[in-house]
Amino acid sequence: MIGESPTRSGPFAHTANTVQRTMFMVLLALLPATLFNLYLFGWPAILLFAVTVGACVVAEAACLVLAGKPVSATLSDGSAILTGWLLAMTLPPWAPWWIGVLGAMFAIPLAKHAFGGLGQNLFNPAMVARVALLVSFPVVMTAWVAPHPLFTTGSPTLHEAMTITFAGETPDGVTAATALGYVKTELSRGVPVSESLQEYGRSSVLTYAPDLMDLATGFKPGSLGETSAGLILLGGIFLLWRRVITWHIPVMMIGTLFFMGTLFNAFDPTRFAPGFFHILSGSAILGAFFIATDYVTSPVTQKGQLVFGFGVGLLTWTIRTFAGYPEGMAFAVLLMNSLTPIIDQYTRPRMFGRTRKGEPLPVEGQR
């Protein structure tokens, strides 16, 4: 049996890349969208964000201590911060503090350390937490607010924010529906999608009239970090440029979602939302670049990543269109996570000098 002792075998050169650097790059890529949304939703969002990330880090440290693993070395890899950050980005921005803390409990001890810690978990910890919270606390988890940018009238002060986040006292008249939610509710009332989409902009509390442009820039209700498709895309392109991720999962996921949306919308625009609406609303872009691409829970082979991206896109569209929930990205990612090992097994590359089945290639023109 091979030992874990430090080795003196080659190669005697290594890339400058590290896990820590990778995590740092992802955090950096998330920064523009996060800062914009913290500005958009004001102090309550900032408090919730801090609580969620902090709870994840504390939970990670506690798990490491209990497992007898090196604490500071592992904490510094940044993976707990990233999990907390991504979880916070998918929460309703004015949700109470315990949502963040409970989410951290689902994400870190349950979804990550119960499986053996970094690299061992089958499911994306942030998505496990989000889904567990959504199923357990459906009302709190769908209490969206209209944008209340910092330093504008109506934006809660830090003091007011404390009561919102820590006492759970949401002021009246601030809630709003997300585009996905609105369209879904209206459809169930018999309003065609094509009408409700136009209606959405003029709906009650929304001071902004979101068209596709607003969906992209992010001045709209939604989760704490997912409203600005444009800034998230910017971060995603940064990750592609720095080669932290490859194009396979995001392109396949967004492509599939767009294709399904466009295709069905062409058949029946009263029942099915168009492709652009699908990719620009909810957490489609965030999911494609930052969540479905999670190394640990997605396939390692490039062909497998294409299959995985396709699956997430298809399931997201299916859940949004036919299931009870307006948004399906988190469910789609978790469902595909469970398929990752089997996708990996069936998408191994062809070995050099061998056929797909592993037999040696025949010698051409054998002499």
């Binding site: 080795t7 080659g10 050169a13 890339t15 390692v300 990996d344 050099f352 010698v363």
Partner: protein
């Protein structure tokens, strides 16, 4: 020329600028030379000299044993000081039989084999015999007896002789310098080898990060229409025999076959030069160019050193260490091996001696695998290193073998690219060794079983025969009685 893509590959920091512009310098004769009897893959040579014998430069001092073995020659004139055992240039540092020569300073060649003035008029066997006699091995690092590879023309129809000047290992510039300074010798050697192989075409493949070598070799190749110099992308492991063959011919060598099965034979540029010396001048392989580099070395150089000079001789010639090296490596940093010390000799396959600093190696404690898939993306052999390593970690070596462990060429790209710095190649080397040992053990027990069974059968046969003889005896008696009656 149309090139074909190879899968994966990496772009490590080449650091060839440390020695790329250093012209080859001859090492002054050291006070002692240590010539191991085994500097190659195969059977060690047998000693012909004993302590006190006077030898001349180029004299055979150890005779090859069988076809996969090579002669060893005296690298200079002098006296045999000892036939002893010293530490081998291998990470184990195990001792091996070695002839120690004290140079007399005259460096006088003895009687050499007759130069072959027109190698293109002689048959393949003559050239192969000369290459074998002159002790030439693959100088790219593997050290396989070259004559064996010149024999491939008999059983295979060889279309292309591929001269490997890729030199894809970082740091190493010895092949680059040989091409820049001795292009004519390399090309002549290549033409002789092509003649022996009956190969109509020669391709010299050089990575595009060596523009001077490309220009000089292209100019030198002008006179020979069947010889083409080709720039290949600078991408590790382009210099791997099978991958270079794929890049040049577009054909993939089937698993467990040789490139010769595709009609391609690959030889290193320095080997071609050695063949030129052997055939045109009758000179055996007694010296080679070694890149002495690394940021811990005071003055990195390309040194032409006699075989048997010690690593410490070369380090001293390069001004010693500028700082304490973290690792002392022979060969390139990707596939090279740790040197057990500086007292070991330079052998025929030593392409480099690297004194590396901790910053250059950039190794660190291994973190958990995050399944980033980099190792899968870069593996030039189409393997899934992360999965193979997982099987090895759980001692499932057969599972690792099913995933293609034995097809791994140990190029080290996966270890290089791993953000968690997991020593994947170390896992694979361990598992390959363990599997080979298992296989040897299995063959041994099979052999024992056949022997035991054969013995049991023999014993039974003898017993049966004896019983039959006994049974026949009374009959004979009876017959006699009958006669008597």
């Amino acid at each position: 020329m149309k090139l074909f893509p190879i899968r994966g590959g990496i772009h490590p920091e080449y650091r060839k600028e440390l020695t790329g512009d250093c012209a080859i310098e001859a090492l002054p004769l050291p006070s002692r030379l240590y010539i191991p009897l085994q500097q190659h893959i195969g059977v060690p040579a047998e000693v012909l000299v004993s302590e006190g014998d006077l030898v001349s430069k180029g004299q055979v001092i150890a005779r090859r044993q069988g076809p996969v073995s090579v002669n060893q020659h005296a690298p200079t004139s002098g006296r045999v000081a000892a036939v002893t055992e010293i530490s081998a240039p291998h990470p184990s540092g195990l001792h091996q039989p070695t002839i120690v020569i004290e140079p007399d300073g005259a460096d006088a060649w003895g009687a050499l084999a007759e130069p072959i003035t027109d190698p293109f008029a002689v048959d393949a066997q003559t050239i192969e015999a000369r290459v074998a006699e002159c002790g030439i091995v693959g100088m790219g690092g593997a050290g396989f007896p070259s004559a064996v590879k010149l024999n491939l023309g008999i059983r295979h129809r060889i279309e292309t002789l591929l001269i490997n000047g890729a030199e894809c290992e970082p740091y190493l510039t010895c092949d680059d310098r040989v091409m820049r300074e001795h292009a004519d010798e390399v090309i002549d050697g290549a033409r002789i080898m092509a003649h022996a192989l009956n190969a109509p075409k020669i391709v010299v493949a050089i990575e595009e990060n060596k523009p001077q070598a490309l220009a000089i070799m292209t100019a030198a190749a002008q006179a020979h229409p069947h010889l083409e110099v080709v720039a290949v992308p600078a991408k590790y492991p382009m210099g791997s025999e099978r991958h270079l063959t794929l890049a040049i011919t577009g054909r993939e060598t089937p698993a467990r076959k040789l490139t010769a099965d595709l009609g391609v034979v690959v030889h290193n540029v320095a080997t071609a030069r050695a063949v030129h010396h052997a055939v045109r001048h009758g000179r055996p392989l007694v010296a080679r160019v070694v890149t002495v580099s690394g940021q811990a070395m005071r003055t990195p150089k390309n040194v032409e050193a006699p075989i048997g000079a010690t690593v410490s001789d070369l380090i001293a010639f390069c001004g010693g260490f500028a700082q304490r090296p973290e690792r002392l490596v022979q060969g390139g940093p990707m596939m090279g091996a740790l040197l057990p010390g500086t007292d070991v000799p330079v052998v025929k396959s030593t392409s480099g001696i690297l004194a590396l600093t901790a910053e250059e190696i950039n190794d660190r404690r291994a973190d958990p695998c995050v399944r980033c898939g980099s190792c899968v993306a870069i593996c030039a052999c189409g393997l899934v290193p992360v999965e193979i390593a997982a099987h090895i970690r759980h001692d499932d070596l057969d599972g690792a073998a099913r995933l293609g462990l034995m097809d791994c060429v140990s190029c080290g790209s996966c270890s290089w690219v791993c953000p968690s710095h997991i020593p994947l190649v170390h896992y694979f080397n361990y598992a390959k060794g363990a599997l080979n040992a298992q296989e040897r053990e299995r063959r041994k027990s099979e052999r024992t079983k056949t022997l035991v069974e054969a013995r049991a059968a023999r014993v039974e046969r003898i017993a049966a025969q004896r019983a039959a003889n006994l049974a026949r005896k009374p009959k004979v008696v009876a017959a006699t009685e009958e006669v008597g009656a």
